[in-house]
């Protein structure tokens, strides 16, 4: 008979108005490795944190080993057999492997004084589970990334969990290093440890998992045996059917004139030799995961960061050099919508009107010095209507707007006049689906009016929906360039994650 170790029954969770988990119901069978996949923000990490007792849930319940987890503390839940290895969990570099393994439950002697010696035997036994080579007394800072990951796992399994959650344990590892983690997972499985395995890398699932659950926008879309689902089925479940329908209509043809040309941009070790072109009327997706070098590339084009090497040409005119600053970039027709609307984009204490008119206030003035209040009001009212900003009163303070509305204002700031090139960085991050669609419409309008858009994003759905072409970055390099017509979701997913042609 099949035994259920974890029963998730109708779990819901909201942060303020934002629903992040909607009625999640799933079962994890004892002894299986169960994968959870989904895009960023699909709710995977929230589910895990709720399970571990870090967030209270609004509805539903978790039943672990037959025990309901209602209102149990993190520690209580651990004693019931759950261990979670969070994505950004770090070890203490200056301490030894032994000390790090025992860190979760520091051993003391009878006088209640820390005694690493007391736990040594058990620590060694656990360490041998994960590796034959590692030694207890090596300082952690001397280990490789993969070895550290093994120590992290050792620290979790020393308490002999019955259910182990691994949140992207291979995210920072190379191909070979990943293999050692896989071997360990197989070993744990044969020791009867059940695992929930969260990942972005679809191909991994086939190697180590038995079943997979796909999450999208806070809902569980499906659960299937791994053998019964293909990678592209998983990808389209992640991305949503509606979206794949819409993106089927390709955007119209664009002009042949090159607007922007980037040659061999280099910045420290975050951007390595990036080159590509953008044509007028084109929306180019600069795609990559966090840390791939997207923001730095935009900053170099805008002049807010000076490249170590390489050149940028706008309409054939060279932009790079000491005096290429944001002031110049704006004068030459480049608009920049930065990633962080709070600190880089909008003046939070300004009225909406003041933010909307800010970048182009000169064109709304008399003699280039005195603000023409009437012109300003007309321009702002027009934008409020076009962008459907809520509340529709431009005299409200910007900080009172929701994320989506702030994002609209941030784009609107550059729509008083037309710019030749719009640089956009994660323009829909943290925005709900309704506002997202409105923002997409605004972006499409911008391109239709003949301006070009460089859209830096880690959201593939968004890129597929909007872009004519994709430039895919991985660790600071252009790993692939694709036309919309030739692009398959899986190709982009794989390239983003550093895979691509040469693997498999």
């Amino acid at each position: 008979m099949e035994d259920v170790i974890l029963d998730v029954r109708g779990v819901s969770k909201s942060f303020g108005k934002n629903r992040v988990l909607t009625n999640i119901t799933m079962e994890v069978k004892r002894g299986e490795v169960h994968a959870i996949v989904g895009e960023n923000g699909a709710g995977k990490s929230t589910l895990i944190k709720a399970l571990a007792g870090e967030y209270p849930i609004d509805g539903g319940e978790f039943i672990l080993n037959g025990q309901p987890l209602v209102k149990k503390s993190v520690k209580d839940i651990q004693t019931l057999g759950l261990q979670v290895i969070h994505q950004n969990l770090n070890l203490v570099p200056s301490m030894t492997v032994l000390q790090n393994i025992l860190m979760g439950d520091i051993p003391v002697n009878r006088a209640n004084v820390v005694s690493w010696h007391t736990g040594r035997e058990k620590a060694l036994e656990t360490l041998r589970m994960v590796s034959d080579k590692l030694e207890l007394d090596t300082p952690v800072e001397e280990l490789s990334a993969a070895e550290k990951q093994l120590v992290i796992i050792a620290r979790a399994i020393i308490n002999e969990p019955t259910l182990l959650v691994l949140d992207e344990p291979t995210a920072r590892l190379g191909m070979e290093e990943t293999q050692s983690v896989f071997r360990l997972i197989d070993k744990l499985k044969s020791n009867n440890v059940t695992m929930l395995y969260i990942t972005h890398r679809l191909e991994e699932i086939y190697k180590i998992c038995d079943r997979v659950s796909v999450f999208r926008d806070g809902e569980k879309v499906l659960t299937s045996a791994v053998s019964g689902i293909t990678q592209s089925e998983m990808a389209s479940a992640m991305l949503g059917k509606k979206v794949t329908d819409v993106i089927a209509e390709n955007r119209g043809a664009v002009s042949a004139d090159t607007l922007l040309e980037i040659k061999g941009l280099q910045y420290k070790n975050t951007v390595k030799n990036i080159s590509f072109e953008i044509k007028r009327g084109e929306i180019v997706g600069l795609i990559g995961s966090v840390g791939a070098g997207k923001s730095e590339t935009l900053d170099m084009i805008f002049g807010s960061v000076q490249p170590d090497q390489g050149e940028v040409f706008l309409n054939g005119e060279k932009l790079t050099g000491k005096d290429h600053q944001p002031v110049k970039a704006v004068q030459k027709g480049i608009a920049y919508i930065p990633e962080d609307r709070q600190t880089q984009g909008l003046v939070q204490d300004f009225a909406i009107r003041e933010n909307l008119s800010f970048a182009d206030i000169k064109s709304l003035s008399k003699h280039g010095a005195i603000i023409d209040r009437k012109k300003e009001k007309e321009a702002v009212d027009g934008l409020m209507e076009k962008l459907l900003v809520k509340p529709p009163d431009p005299e409200y303070k910007t900080s009172q707007l929701s994320g989506g509305n702030q994002q609209k204002v941030l784009i609107g700031k550059w729509l008083v006049n037309k710019y030749e090139l719009y640089l956009m960085d994660e323009v829909t991050a943290g925005v709900d689906i309704g506002a997202k669609m409105q923002i997409y419409e605004i972006i499409t309008d911008i391109a239709d009016s003949g301006s070009a858009v460089l859209l830096a994003t880690s959201d593939i759905t968004e890129a597929l929906y909007l872009c004519n072409r994709f430039v895919i970055l991985h660790r600071g390099e252009v790993i692939k360039e694709l036309d919309r017509a030739d692009a398959e979701i899986e190709d982009i997913l794989l390239a983003m994650m550093g895979g691509g042609n040469d693997e498999k």
Binding site: F302, P326, Y336, T343, G345, F350, Y396
Partner: protein, 317 residues
């Protein structure tokens, strides 16, 4: 966020803050009058509007710098420096009044610009840069005068700081003119809009294609300009200039500007005037009921700190 929370537009919020400050003025008047009936007299009110004039002018300079995201600790010394320089040219060199005044104001503005260069180009923290400048000016003033007091200023010059015009004290008229110009600059010019944004979010300002270095430079130069205007008027008001004339204005400017900026969360020239009225009423009130001067300084400090705390509470919900 619910709808109730969104029911606040910026103008409404500002109006509430004006009411708060005016309410405070009323409370102060009522309290002191109950203890000392002479407090509410034409004489004391007239003194009040004279006494706020110079502090408001320097506080306007400080407010410009604060709006641009900095602090100017050299306001008092610039004020004294301009005062001294103008007087020296008038008394010792015998230059015409207008020329002497122009030299004093130009020099003070120049010092402000040097502050601005240190902050915007050399990247020195504004507090440190202007504190350094304070000591430099102290030295220069000793060197120029040898520590002696300058007096015997021309009568025509002294007339500017005394008496009334159309029934209003002349110093107050200077203040009103400056406040009106200040309102216009802050609320109706591109410079004012950008300055306001600079102090609230320098990165967003820079990424909007604004030359933030030049904005910072201008803010300090303007502060220097207003400080030296104050210095010249101070010489006319007091008729003697000493080596430390004007030094106390740094603290006055700071108290008034910080008070107003904390409450409104942005540069509001009228807020400056009300803040100055509050400070002056308290100062005069305490001395009229016979409190010692050390008390009065302490009260100023407490008011400034209280305003910052109240501002935090009402501006960050």
């Amino acid at each position: 966020m619910n709808d109730k929370n969104l029911k606040t537009n910026v103008a409404f919020e500002t109006a509430k803050r004006y009411l708060l400050m005016i309410g405070l003025v009323v409370v102060i008047i009522v309290l002191f009058t109950s203890m000392q009936p002479a407090f509410f007299s034409v004489m004391n009110l007239r003194n009040t509007i004279i006494d706020i004039a110079l502090p408001v002018i320097v506080a306007a300079g400080m407010m410009i710098v604060i709006a641009g995201g900095g602090l100017d600790m050299s306001i008092g010394p610039i004020c004294g420096f301009a005062s001294l320089l103008s007087s020296l040219f008038m008394v010792n060199a015998g230059l015409p009044i207008a020329v002497s005044v122009a030299i004093g104001i130009a020099a003070g503005t120049g010092i402000g610009a040097i502050n601005g260069l240190m902050v915007s180009r050399a990247g020195i923290d504004s507090f440190i840069a202007t504190l350094g400048m304070q000591f430099v000016l102290l030295g220069i003033r000793y060197w120029l005068t040898g520590g002696k007091t300058i007096s015997r200023l021309p009568q025509e010059f002294l007339a500017a700081g005394r008496g009334d015009l159309i029934g209003i004290p002349k110093l107050t008229i200077f203040m009103i003119v400056i406040v009106v110009i200040f309102i216009f600059v802050i609320d109706y010019t591109i410079f004012g809009r950008r300055l306001t944004s600079l102090g609230m979010n320098i990165e967003a300002t820079r990424l909007s294609g604004i030359n933030v270095k030049n904005m910072t430079l201008s803010a300090f130069a303007l502060s220097g300009l207003l400080s030296s205007v104050c210095g010249v008027l101070l010489a006319a008001k007091t008729s003697t200039v000493t080596v430390d004339s004007g030094d106390s204005y740094t603290l006055d400017a700071l108290t008034i500007a910080v008070f107003s900026y904390s409450i409104f969360g942005r540069a509001k020239p009228i807020g400056l005037v009300i803040a100055a009225v509050i400070i002056v009423l308290l100062t005069n009130g305490f001395s009229m009921i016979g409190a010692s001067p050390s008390w009065i300084n302490m009260i100023k400090g407490v008011i400034m700190l209280a305003a910052i705390i109240v501002g935090r509470i009402i501006n960050k919900k």
